[in-house]
Symmetry: C2
Subunit: 419 residues, 2 copies
């Protein structure tokens, strides 16, 4: 038993070293079919964990069907539905393809992807580019002609423009952007305004120096990004995934390597337990609805891969870095600080690269240890959007991961390592 | 006496209304000779209050002589000195020309100026464009061939590029930038990183769409601004001056309309007392020296017009908005909050447009009332740079305004209004 405990401590220390030494660089932008491992033209990805088509929540169903129509894989929603049931259109979680998707996480072969390379370990991870602001986006499980038109513009114009600029930049250091953005009011999940600004600053030179793009396309691209205050969230998500991937499968580690929600179930992965998901029903989100017509009864349960940010100690783990986000939950700075202190109790380490100004630059907690979650009964706190159960963004707030996921994982860990 | 008190209260309320309703828009960039009221080709401006040439501090002397050489007004430092003494080169404070200058505030006829219009009242104010980062700049009272070359590049390339972009933008709302930047870790004096980022975002479209500028000049301009983290401080200073100018001369008002330091004396102006400066010896700055070779004995006393930011309730008045700045004074968030609470005691109002995240979005104090300063003995707290007594930036920290300025002003106020 002592031997096992030592092995766990050593494995966890190694996991933390891997996570903290990760160096995520945005190196490319390209259509999913060209870069995402295992991606095929007839495949549509969604936020994890995996779920049967008939069990999917509204936003996922609308989003997957929307993507099928946009890609020309189906002629009607009914056609898409039947092709999905027949397996002619494949539906899989982003996480199974080294990818992460915000909200419904809908990603198809033509979707322009941010490609983040963890240069310390040579692995890559991916996330679609942001569709910008607005309540009705494919990522929120909405689809109509305007959305389709915008997706096509992103694939045909913005994606190629970004590809040229990112390649010309020689790589954009996402870790450095996150470190600085946390000093500028971002917790890097529900608020990425500063991150986006810092990213745009890095792109300024490359974008102006770009060749082979019409003035109109360049200006349209810039105007879109300047107005999309949270544009860089997806870059941070891909960076988080890129940082966590090298820890996957590390024997004896009890550190969480993924948290994701499909609007029905919340799932976690643990370093020492490889690709397995440990699931429990997703919790409702506590937060602010953006219009008075919306209330709890309209909301889908917790949804999206964006909890990958909390998995690397951002978002809900560093709420005091972004007091503005407290406004969604009628919170206060004191409550935010208390929340971070709580998260510190379930984490294995602290991250000197992410320092919280309002806590006199305390290093952020990082590395969720499933043992600590179960022992303390403290569930990870996640900042998140609220999606309408039939699609569309309707609010933002915070949610707790279900403790049951961690209990199951710990049980599986015992079965795996205590034989 | 009660009648006087009522008149003061009414005048102060009016002053606060004027300040809070100001709407500063960056509308143009142009050489000082073309836009600054009263500017002539043989004039060099410096940070206020006015001071005799022989009494000036080192940074001012070096800066004024440097500007004379750069403008071709003199052939050598000795020539400049003698022309200044003979009155062939005029040396006056920025503030006397509706302008404000950071540090030594050196501004000559060819200096590209940010032109900020207070659209509520139709008046304008001015500040030179930033020379960027670095310890050796004309604004810090340094001058050599490299500095001269950079000034020429700014006048010949950056100024015209910015002019085109700012004009094409249709005006950039400085108040909105400040409101948002305070949510992003800027106190808008010693830290303007977020403000600069937001300003650059506004310029993105206009800069890319610019005509009649070579690719090289455009790229050089963008690279310079992207690297100059505090570029927009001067825009905020001009905006503060533009906001305060309409209050100047408002009968019976005890609200401060300017605070400025020339490295020898600290001076204030008061709305009800017009253009008069009330002076006392400038205090030494308490802060961090950027190299171990520097210490208190190297430092010039408090210097620069940038305390115009505190005059509108930014900078040292909202330290908790920028915990990073506390690092200069080995401070803490708690100390920063205590400082803001102290400043609240000497201010006449609070500013709903500037809300401090780390104080649960408390509105910032604004409008220094000389009566309250004298009654409480609390001196305004100013975030500021530290200049070497022979020129050059050597540190940053904070400093108190001398109470004596406020005592003198109150005495003058009594003489003016209590006859």
């Amino acid at each position: 038993m002592t031997d096992l405990k030592q092995k766990i401590e050593a494995a966890n220390q190694k996991t933390i070293e891997i996570i903290l030494s990760g160096s995520p660089m945005l190196v490319d932008v390209a259509p999913a079919r060209e870069v995402v491992p295992g991606m095929t033209d007839n495949m549509i990805l969604h936020s994890a964990p995996a779920i049967a088509w008939e069990d999917m929540c509204g936003p996922h169903k609308v989003g997957v069907i929307g993507a099928a129509l946009w890609e020309g894989l189906a002629s009607s929603p009914e056609d898409a539905d039947s092709k999905i049931r027949r397996g002619e259109i494949l539906v899989e979680p982003c996480h199974h393809h080294d990818s992460v998707g915000a909200g419904a996480g809908i990603t198809s072969a033509s979707t322009p992807m941010l490609v983040v390379e963890n240069t310390t370990y040579g692995n890559r991870a991916y996330s679609c580019i942001s569709e910008g602001g607005g309540l009705r986006l494919l990522k929120w499980g909405a689809y109509d002609e305007d959305i389709a038109k915008h997706l096509s513009w992103q694939a045909e114009v913005l994606g190629p423009v970004l590809q040229k600029a990112v390649r010309a930049s020689g790589g954009i250091d996402v870790k450095s952007i996150v470190s600085r953005a946390v000093q500028m009011g971002d917790e890097c999940h529900n608020r990425t305004v500063a991150s986006t600004g810092l990213f745009l600053k890095e792109l300024y030179g490359p974008l102006v120096d770009i060749d082979g793009v019409s003035d109109k396309d360049l200006l349209d691209s810039i105007r879109f990004m300047v107005e999309a205050d949270q544009f860089f969230l997806h870059g941070i998500m891909a960076a988080a995934k890129a940082i966590l991937l090298p820890a996957k499968g590390l024997s004896h580690s009890t550190i969480v390597t993924a948290m994701a929600r499909n609007g029905v179930e919340f799932g976690i992965q643990v370093a020492g337990l490889g690709d397995r998901w440990f699931r429990a029903p997703a919790n409702p989100v506590n937060g602010l609805y953006f219009r008075s017509e919306w209330s709890d009864k309209d909301a889908a349960p917790d949804l999206g891969d964006s909890a990958i940010t909390e998995t690397v100690g951002l978002g809900g783990f560093i709420q005091p870095a972004a007091p503005t986000v407290q406004q969604y939950v009628q919170g206060s700075l004191q409550q935010a600080i208390a929340n971070t202190q709580e998260m510190t109790q379930i984490c294995a380490a602290s991250n000197n690269d992410v320092r919280i100004p309002a806590m006199d630059f305390a290093a952020a907690p990082i590395g969720i240890d499933i043992r600590k979650v179960v022992q303390t009964g403290i569930a990870p706190l996640i900042d998140t959007a609220i999606t309408h159960k039939e699609g569309g963004l309707i609010g933002a707030g915070e949610v707790r991961a279900p403790i049951a996921c961690f209990e199951q994982a710990l049980k599986a860990f015992a079965a795996e390592y205590m034989q």
